[in-house]
């Protein structure tokens, strides 16, 4: 078990290192003149010189690379070119917003996705199953930004015009300020992520459940007279959790690094929106910081999933 964990952790660190190298190559080696990229087209030669010095761009590439990694290991992500704010602060500001968005949406999509998937699997080919297939495919085909826009149009604006204002059109209220307002402001963003992602989970759960329900031990459970509910929820659901869990790790990890589109549509000041802002203003340290952070989150999420796997299923540890 320890060796298995160690191997996974090392592999995770290798990925983060790889990402850092890729980012370094993308931003400092590939562009012909990074200083000009940063200082802007109109910058004078003196300004360029200062920028080069400040960033250490006058050093050879390997030296820059080692310094870059060194700063990264110390958790120093540099300062924003635009505001001179430490990137760590930008992340610290954006993360609670993104985390609120991601965790709430994840809870919703697990409930919706797994719930409908189980019902569909226990009644295959029924009307519910067929209808669900259609609905799932529809939401699966919907790009998140479009669903966000539609939710704004119908659930916020049309209701608001009709005199009901249940759903605010976005903006973020910290959880520490008011839990009720926090949730109310996040309902539409949550839904716009959850409905789409739930489609995948619904299908995933249905498929896995159908496989498991055909197994011999389920027949045995039936033969010994267990209730259908016990069979479905206790026996079948547990064994079909594995593929759902894998997907969950990937999705949640990806989302925590910034639900870019949703944050942009609803104007939530999370990591994703910070990243887009930084990209449009060429604010390199912020882009680099968020990119590396989000890959770390994906890696950590995968690691957690692997650990859960290993705890649930001893066979995994051997491989």
């Amino acid at each position: 078990m320890i060796r298995f964990l160690l191997r996974r952790v090392l592999w995770g660190m290798a990925i983060v290192w790889f990402v850092a190298t890729l980012v370094f190559a993308m931003f400092f080696v590939a562009p012909r003149d990074v200083a000009r990229l940063i200082a802007g087209r109109q910058a004078s030669d003196q300004t360029l010189e200062v920028v080069r010095k400040r960033l250490g761009l006058d050093q050879p590439v390997p030296v820059q690379y080692v310094r870059f990694l060194g700063r990264l290991v110390r958790g120093d992500l540099g300062e924003s070119f635009l505001t001179s704010e430490p990137v760590v602060n930008v992340i610290r500001r954006g993360f609670p917003v993104t985390a609120s968005l991601a965790l709430g949406a994840a809870t919703l999509w697990l409930i919706i996705g797994v719930g409908t998937g189980v019902i569909a699997a226990t009644r295959p080919r029924s009307l519910f199953d067929r209808a669900l297939t259609g609905v799932a495919l529809f939401f699966y085909s919907m790009p998140p930004f479009l669903l966000g826009e539609l939710l704004l149009l119908f659930l916020f604006f049309r209701l608001y015009m009709a005199g009901y204002s249940f759903f605010p059109p976005g903006a973020y209220v910290p959880l520490t300020e008011s839990a009720a307002q926090w949730a109310r402001h996040l309902i539409l963003p949550w839904l716009s992520i959850a409905l789409i992602t739930a489609a995948t989970y619904s299908r995933l759960t249905r498929g896995a459940m159908l496989d498991v329900l055909g197994e011999d031990y389920i027949r045995t459970a039936r033969a010994k007279g267990l209730t259908e509910g016990r069979i479905v929820y206790k026996h079948a659901l547990r064994s079909s959790a594995a593929p759902v869990m894998t997907q969950f790790g990937i999705d949640l990890g990806g989302l925590l690094g910034g639900a870019i589109v949703t944050e942009v549509v609803f104007g939530l000041p999370g990591l994703g929106r910070e990243a887009v802002l930084a990209i449009t203003t060429q604010d390199l340290p912020v882009i680099i910081g968020i990119t590396i952070l989000s890959s770390m989150l994906v890696v950590v999420a995968n690691l957690v999933v692997d650990m859960c796997y290993a705890l649930l299923d001893p066979r995994v540890r051997v491989r």
Binding site: I15, F138, L146, L204, P243, A275
Partner: protein
């Protein structure tokens, strides 16, 4: 009287199943319409006499500068600059289809190559390529894609390459798994003993046997590539305005959704209609090749781990 038995190959069987599938036929019809609209976009522009970039500030905007709704002059209404939405949606179809088809074609070709090479050579090559696929799959792709585009500068070609780069790994993984089992078949050994080289075995013996998977993947990657492109355009890092794409139209429409529902509705419907049609077709194609398989969306996520 005995019923004559006709030999039918797997491709023939698949095609027959597909042509009996009502959903598949509907999807093909829908895709046909979209393709026709894209191809004949200039004709549509000519008929309604509104070039895609023309701004009708007098007729296309209300006196207070608000877009005009669907009506006789503008069948699907106008956008924030008084341009004809019908014409722009039609031109947008070109962008979406070109990006969708080329990006997924590129991804499938590259993924197939890497998957087959990894499986055939095995050993260190397999380890390196498999790890590479793992890494690509664990990149936060949207952030990376946006950052990449920000450096290179947005354009149609850049979009295609970036989308393909982030999609090939899931194909590679599945192809590798299949090729691993094909590699052990007798006919491969036979080909080898007849003196076939690695190249011949990989591309003449193995490739045709993973072709069904490749077709399924290509069909399922098209809608996700289209959505990916729309998302990049939406964020301002895809197709450069004023060239219309569904993504940048929807981005512009955000400022107007309270006063001009048609500005959101028509590009949105075109986008969802297209991805939905391709997803339905992809599903049916998969069912046609492998009737036992039941997991719809799962495959498209590249989460099928069989090895």
């Amino acid at each position: 009287m005995s019923v004559p038995i006709r030999a039918r190959g797997p491709w023939q069987l698949a095609f027959e199943r597909l042509s009996r599938d009502r959903w598949a036929i509907a999807a093909v019809a829908a895709i046909g319409i979209i393709v026709a609209v894209a191809v004949f976009a200039p004709l549509i522009a000519r008929v309604v006499d509104h070039p895609p970039q023309a701004q009708y500030r007098d007729t296309g905007l209300s006196p207070s500068g608000i877009p005009v709704g669907p009506g006789r002059a503008f069948i699907l209404g106008t956008d924030g600059l008084g341009r004809d939405i019908l014409v722009r949606v039609a031109y947008g179809a070109r962008v979406s289809l070109v990006v969708g088809v080329l990006a997924s074609g590129l991804a499938v070709a590259f993924g197939a190559m890497v998957g087959i090479v990894a499986a055939w050579f095995g050993g260190a090559i397999d380890t390196i390529l498999s790890r590479l696929m793992d890494v690509v799959l664990s990149l936060p792709f949207l952030v990376f894609a946006l950052a990449l585009v920000a450096i290179v500068g947005p354009s149609l070609v850049v979009s295609i390459v970036v989308i393909a780069f982030f999609s090939w790994a899931s194909v590679g993984r599945v192809v590798r798994a299949q090729a691993l089992s094909i590699r052990e078949q007798e006919y491969i050994r036979a080909a080898r003993s007849l003196g076939a080289g690695s190249l011949r075995i990989m591309f003449v013996e193995i490739l045709p046997n993973v072709a069904a998977t490749l077709i399924v993947y290509a069909t399922l990657l098209i809608p996700s590539s289209i959505a990916f492109e729309a998302t990049m355009s939406f964020l301002g890092l895809g197709v450069v305005p004023p060239t219309p794409s569904w993504g940048n139209m929807l981005a512009d429409s955000i400022a107007f959704y309270k006063v001009a529902w048609w500005f959101v509705a028509f590009p949105g419907a075109a986008l969802v209609g297209t991805t939905l049609a391709f997803n339905i077709l992809g599903d049916s194609v998969r069912d046609a090749f492998d009737p036992r398989h039941d997991q719809t969306i799962v495959i498209a996520n590249g989460e099928e781990k069989k090895s």
